[in-house]
């Protein structure tokens, strides 16, 4: 293929090209065969459509069960601790350690 067929690549790539040079290139059997072949080459390069940059996240059922179990354990643990603290703290008022005698009230001047 001749060098002036570079215009076919420029056309394929949406780069600026001279229409007259493209017409000249495509008027030759070699030129228009190249155009079809290079489009076909482009198709061959494409990866399978299901190949993606980030794989879709599959939520594992085990993960959901584990998360629910963790929440239940946390709630049960919290309840148990609360109960235990409730038993430890005596609800009756503590005995007085000091009694302050206020004496008689003084009238204000």
């Amino acid at each position: 293929m001749k060098n002036h067929h570079e215009v076919i690549s420029a056309f394929l790539d949406d780069e600026p090209f001279e229409p007259a040079r493209l017409a000249e290139a495509l008027s030759e059997p070699e030129g228009h065969a190249a155009l079809i072949d290079l489009v076909a080459l482009r198709h061959l390069m494409q990866p399978p459509p299901n190949v993606v940059a980030i794989p879709p996240r599959r939520r594992s059922p085990l993960r959901t069960v584990l998360a629910a179990a963790a929440v239940l354990v946390a709630m049960a643990g919290g309840f148990w601790l609360g109960e235990r603290r409730g038993q430890l703290i005596d609800s009756a008022a503590p005995a007085a350690t000091r009694v302050i005698e206020t004496g008689d009230w003084q009238p204000l001047p």
Binding site: S9, L12, L41, H43, P49, V51, A53
Partner: protein, 174 residues
């Protein structure tokens, strides 16, 4: 103008992944290298330049990572891109494509993949590969002709299927 790293990631991730996919031929490695580009890009100061130049800068990082990967693995052509959902019918063609790409020089392969897989313009490729746009044009065309020769049989077989200039398969529309 301040470059937002997250925006940069969203805008360029698919392009980078597609470039790496053919550059290394393995899905997981391509995903890892795509992430590595952004790790490196955020560690370095993202240049405060127009979008096309930032993309060229990102692809320069990508190119270095691909070259490092090839040095580590000694550039063995891989079989085929394996889709996550089992064996694709076009695996033989894929293997032939990867083999043909492996026969190219690093620079020719990168210029070609940046255009064909990542959709970069000639100016962007020129900046990423430190070439002139004219050199990109010539190199790209020459590389296409080499690949055309090496892949003559699958190219001929593709003539009977509908095609699009973009390369997107019309059969995927349905």
């Amino acid at each position: 103008m301040t470059v937002d790293p997250e925006g940069l990631f969203v805008a360029n991730q698919p392009r980078l992944f597609r470039y790496f996919l053919r550059a290394v031929g393995q899905i997981e490695t391509a995903r890892d290298l795509t992430q590595d580009v952004f790790v490196r890009a955020t560690r370095a100061a993202i240049p405060d330049v127009p979008e096309g130049e930032v993309r060229a800068w990102i692809f320069r990082i990508a190119r270095n990572l691909a070259l490092d990967h090839h040095r580590r693995t000694q550039r063995q052509p891989v079989d085929a891109i394996r889709a996550d959902t089992g064996r694709a019918p076009s695996q033989e063609i894929d293997a032939a494509v990867n083999e043909a790409l492996a026969s190219l020089t690093d620079l020719d392969r990168d210029v070609f993949l940046m255009r064909e897989m990542a959709g970069l313009g000639y100016d962007e490729i020129a900046k990423a590969c430190e070439l002139t746009p004219d050199a990109v044009r010539s190199r790209l065309h020459r590389t296409r002709l080499q690949l055309r020769d090496r892949l003559a049989a699958p190219i001929a077989a593709r003539h009977t299927s509908p095609m699009r200039l973009s390369g997107r398969d019309p059969r995927d529309d349905t």
